[in-house]
Symmetry: C2
């Protein structure tokens, strides 16, 4: 037994593998890699190899193991490898994958290649499954589901059900429940494997299946809805039905875990102003490409801020130059308040409830919070200014401007993610450079306006 | 069959329930709530009720359903309800929970109450399980595991194994695999339920169990390690062993999904400068408390920035007042670069690999990326300044300062999360107001220093 597989991966093993590949040592690949490692670990090794090395490794694994490794890899590595293969070879790999993985991978290929591969598949049931799954739109329950599942007719007995399990055993790797359908393939409920084991052979499915507790999703539901439901009911698999209630497939929890993780990663990237799916081990050039767009937008915002300062601020600064000291404080607090507000909305959007606040209730609460925060910080900054020896008029300008900026930034921070979400953009963008830049501009404009009002400029 | 449970929750149902509670209508609670809704949905309703209403509802559910609802609720609501109960009543609820949920809930109670409840538990095996689980430290595999699982001795045959399943069936709600142990309770492997169904009664476990693919974790592993392993190998449950390899318990994927979700929420909050576990439906006062601390820290940073500007910047501004226009651009870009850099490190820390870059490799790459970004943005800003009609000397100051700030912010953004992580803090703090404030200060200091150098002030 390998008690803790990850520790079996090491830099030494990587070096041995690289040596083996250099010496075309296929025996090493069979005995030390294929037989000893989990496909997920082999995939982790592939990431560390040069392209040529990776291809040599993949070509010399059995088709069974290679197809599992290929399912685990990133799209770009897989595509490079597939480019070199014939349709027949490609079809051999696809043939061994679950239908959901197979479809995800086929969608990465050119349409013509895709069609040829499907036509070449040996397992015609698999081909039909794939053709059924291909049209579902990305991000829906239909696109997440696999066709592989075990179902039993409600009129069967346990013996017939076990026969079906035997027949499907090889194709369905993980069986959690047997789904129960009627003659028209309408989902009626489910039976757990535990119950099947504990029932006698002639027990009727109709007598033991659960119809109360079963939760299913329609294929058009969004993946966020599926996540919500599976999380709420602690499910390890969920059946997918069409609008008539016919059983189409099932979604397993490992795919949902991936969705949750990807969503968190996408949110982090949007919040930090990174474009695309960037990682630390990207090349320098990829990293620059991921970072530049938002930096340039931020810089354009900064140039706008310079113009605002030039027009509104210069008359003030020429008269009372110490007022220039507080631009960072005002803009910074505006940014912080805006991000806090949008983050709270992000949290709500991520955990939707049936009983949501209306926009009016939301904004009223935001107003109350902002009034409190604004008053407290306004008083604090007034005291700070006096302690630091600024004159009272300066202190009043700074304090009044800070109060106004906190109010405004609370509203922009609350509304921007709601609007982005409504328009179909990632609302997390509102917690990033976008909202910060907007709040910088608003903050400066408010600050200098307040100053001119109080100084009668 | 309820095809889509969430839609059965509605504002109308909530109102009906509130009316029923007001009229002490227990029949409604039994027929429309207990019999029709999933415990997770009942919990969602509880959140919408006043305290008194919630207690009436919980008291009038059967102990079985109430204990499931209680496991789903937030700590504060549960604690309020428990305060009113006798030890005996409390023990009745705990008695029906899985050992991991029971322990989590008992840990919320005062030690004396906890001890009394454990002493009162009717199921003595449950009491022993709880006593075994209590000492595990929060955040370890031991704290995540439940004792409920089905194990089979390697010398048994299928028939004996099925007898064991029958014996444990009520206590172990979800059975994924049967864990195989030897006479000393050392974990040897596992058998899937599918295999048990497909094997004849006299087949020996020893002949069919899988020993190759089984992955287990030691109880002292961190929950992040458990998440990593279960995600990597797409597991729905993982056995937990002690250092001698003895089987202690198992962790199921629903707990891991919760860990991933909580981690993402905590990261979002740290990145946006929110303290504690804040939600949109917190009270106004709770919301203010969650937001104020980081706003005050940010404000203190802003006052420091004012001092830096006063000391380093005022001589420059008095001479060339347009230089005041660019403080927001410089500070803002510094903040954006810093957050991008820390976010990339956060991503790496969240997806640890065996083959990580060394700190030196990391910093070298950061340097290259920063040089490229800095050069591109520096040239852009130089052109912008000239187009906007600023004199060449001003343009050079701004451009040179921006370049330097991008370099510096890249390093602080990279190093801060690594240092925070090493010190045991949440590294996501480095992508929030903290790093922004620090970069504001660095940015201003660099900017005015460059200005004084070029203007010989």
């Amino acid at each position: 037994m390998q008690e803790n597989l990850p520790s079996t991966l090491s830099k030494e093993l990587l070096e041995e593998l690289q040596n083996a590949i250099e010496n075309l040592d296929v025996a090493f690949i069979k005995s030390k890699i294929e037989d000893e490692l989990h496909p997920a670990d082999i995939a982790a090794l592939v990431y560390e190899l040069q392209e040529e090395e990776a291809h040599f490794l993949l070509e010399n694994l059995s088709v069974e193991v290679a197809s599992e490794v290929l399912s685990e890899l990133d799209e770009d590595i897989r595509k490079d490898f597939f480019k070199k293969l014939s349709y027949e070879k490609l079809a051999e790999y696809i043939n061994l994958m679950d239908s959901d993985d197979a479809v995800d991978i086929l969608k990465e290929l050119d349409i013509q290649v895709r069609e040829e591969v499907i036509a070449t598949l040996r397992d015609r049931q698999k081909a039909r499954n794939i053709i059924h799954l291909l049209p579902y739109e990305e991000g829906t329950a239909g696109a997440l589901m696999a066709k592989e599942l075990i179902k039993a007719n409600i009129n069967w007995n346990i013996k017939q059900c076990i026969e079906e399990i035997r027949r499907q055993a090889e194709k369905v790797e993980k069986v959690y429940s047997i789904y129960v359908v009627d003659d028209k393939n309408i989902l009626k409920g489910r039976v757990s494997l535990k119950k099947i084991i504990l029932s006698s052979d002639d027990t009727l499915i109709a007598d033991i299946y659960e119809d109360e507790d079963i939760v299913a999703v329609e294929s058009y539901r969004t993946q966020d809805e599926v996540v919500e439901i599976m999380q709420k009911y602690d499910l390890e698999a969920i059946p997918v039905v069409n609008v008539q209630g016919k059983l189409l497939g099932r979604i397993t929890i490992d795919d949902i875990v991936d969705v949750i993780q990807e969503r968190a990663d996408a949110e982090r990237q949007a919040m930090s102003g990174l474009s695309g799916d960037t990682e630390e081990d990207d090349s320098v050039w990829q990293s620059v490409k991921a970072r530049l767009p938002w930096l340039i937008i931020g810089m354009a915002g900064g140039m706008l801020a310079a113009s605002v300062t030039d027009m509104l601020g210069q008359p003030v600064i020429l008269l009372v130059s110490v007022l220039a000291n507080f631009t960072t404080l005002i803009a910074g607090t505006g940014g912080n308040v805006g991000i806090q507000s949008s983050s709270v909305i992000l949290q709500s959007l991520a955990h939707k409830s049936v009983f949501e606040l209306s926009t009016f209730q939301r904004l009223f609460k935001v107003l109350l919070i902002a009034l409190l925060n604004g008053t407290i910080l306004g008083i604090l900054v007034l005291l700070f200014c006096l302690i630091f020896g600024y004159e009272i008029k300066v202190a009043i300008v700074v304090s009044a401007a800070l109060f106004s900026v906190i109010l405004l930034a609370s509203f922009t921070g609350t509304l921007t993610p709601l609007v982005l979400n409504r328009l179909g953009f990632n609302p997390a963008l509102a917690a990033g450079p976008f909202i910060t830049t907007a709040n910088d501009l608003i903050g400066l404009a408010v600050y200098f306006s307040v100053a001119r009002l109080i100084y009668h400029i």
